[in-house]
Symmetry: C2
Subunit: 200 residues, 2 copies
């Protein structure tokens, strides 16, 4: 199925063009002008959508944060802090990362892994996600130290699950990988995992 | 006690000068030339010690990483992965963050918190710390997924403990705060922490 039956919006076309060019020649060797041209748009249009050359790969982070925060606010009252965060991560998985996004996610991740500046931008997005999670948990009445730790652990759970999703088969379900990542974090903090003696 | 009885080395003088200037006028408004001048050294000497204006606050990160990795390699064979990481973090706390470093750590943290670029640099140091921990755990025979999660959780434990140390009284012991942070992470992942119903 080509592009002919569906005309993506400007933002989607810019992201696709950027990913193509980053894949073909690398992030450093690509200019905003070239991205705009490949998308059939102007540089000015690019900067109406994205603040700089990095941001084109992070346009989804606002939706990500809003989906997460909204789901946490609406999690059952009886949910513990970590459960509320996992409910939020599940909502993100369902809304933003269905199987048909797997190929895009894989190419985007490859572009980020190939460039230190993009990795820095990704890390700063995760830091702002931690801050947003602390606020969301605070609004549920969770005390600050617990909220902070839960937020950090929540981001670890997501990062690890997302990497497994991207690295894996496209039919893997991100929600299931989040549950698996939560179980693994529980195991790790409880002190499971082979000691040297067990592995040798 | 003034500086008269002890002449700090060039690197220490540069760090002290940078912290003074960042505190007085902010990171953005300070040049490398001014840092060197305040330290009574040349710009060229500055760049022999640090790659750029940010790096002056991160000169300890190599020692940090080496201390951690060495202690993990020498942790008892029966230690589980998370225990080995905590042994490593304790070694770092003891070697690098005694009570007399508290004031320095507090001023350094304030400078970092005041500047997005410094926060990015700190986050990238934490990312490289995760990578180093994964290698160190791998050498103990820990499988990659467990190593990855343990490394991420270890960094969270340290970050939270270190913030509590910096924000707290100078007589707090960082090793104790690391143990406390480990206990709290265990509690959080086990699903402890007040649900909304309990807090209301």
């Amino acid at each position: 199925m080509g592009m002919s039956r569906w005309k993506p919006d400007a933002q989607t076309r810019l992201v696709q063009a950027a990913l193509e060019l980053y894949g073909e020649r690398g992030f450093e060797q690509t200019t905003v002008a070239e991205i705009a041209q490949r998308a059939g748009l102007t540089e000015r249009t690019y900067f109406r959508h994205f603040a700089d050359k990095r941001e084109v790969l992070f346009g989804g982070s606002t939706v990500f944060e809003e989906t997460l925060i909204h789901a946490i606010a609406n999690a059952p009252d009886v949910a513990t802090p970590i459960d509320a965060v996992v409910v939020g991560l599940d909502a993100v998985a369902e809304a933003m990362f269905p199987p048909e996004r797997h190929d895009y996610a894989r190419r985007r991740q490859a572009a980020i892994m190939a460039n230190a500046g993009l990795q820095e931008r990704e890390q700063s997005k995760f830091a702002s996600l931690v801050a947003a999670l602390v606020v969301a948990l605070g609004q549920r009445g969770v005390d600050e130290p617990t909220a902070r730790l839960t937020a950090e652990v929540g981001v670890v759970i997501f990062k690890v699950a997302f990497e497994r999703w991207v690295d894996g088969d496209q039919h893997l379900d991100l929600s299931q990988l989040i549950q698996e990542s939560l179980r693994d974090v529980r195991g790790v903090t409880a002190g499971e995992g082979s000691a040297v003696g067990a592995a040798a």
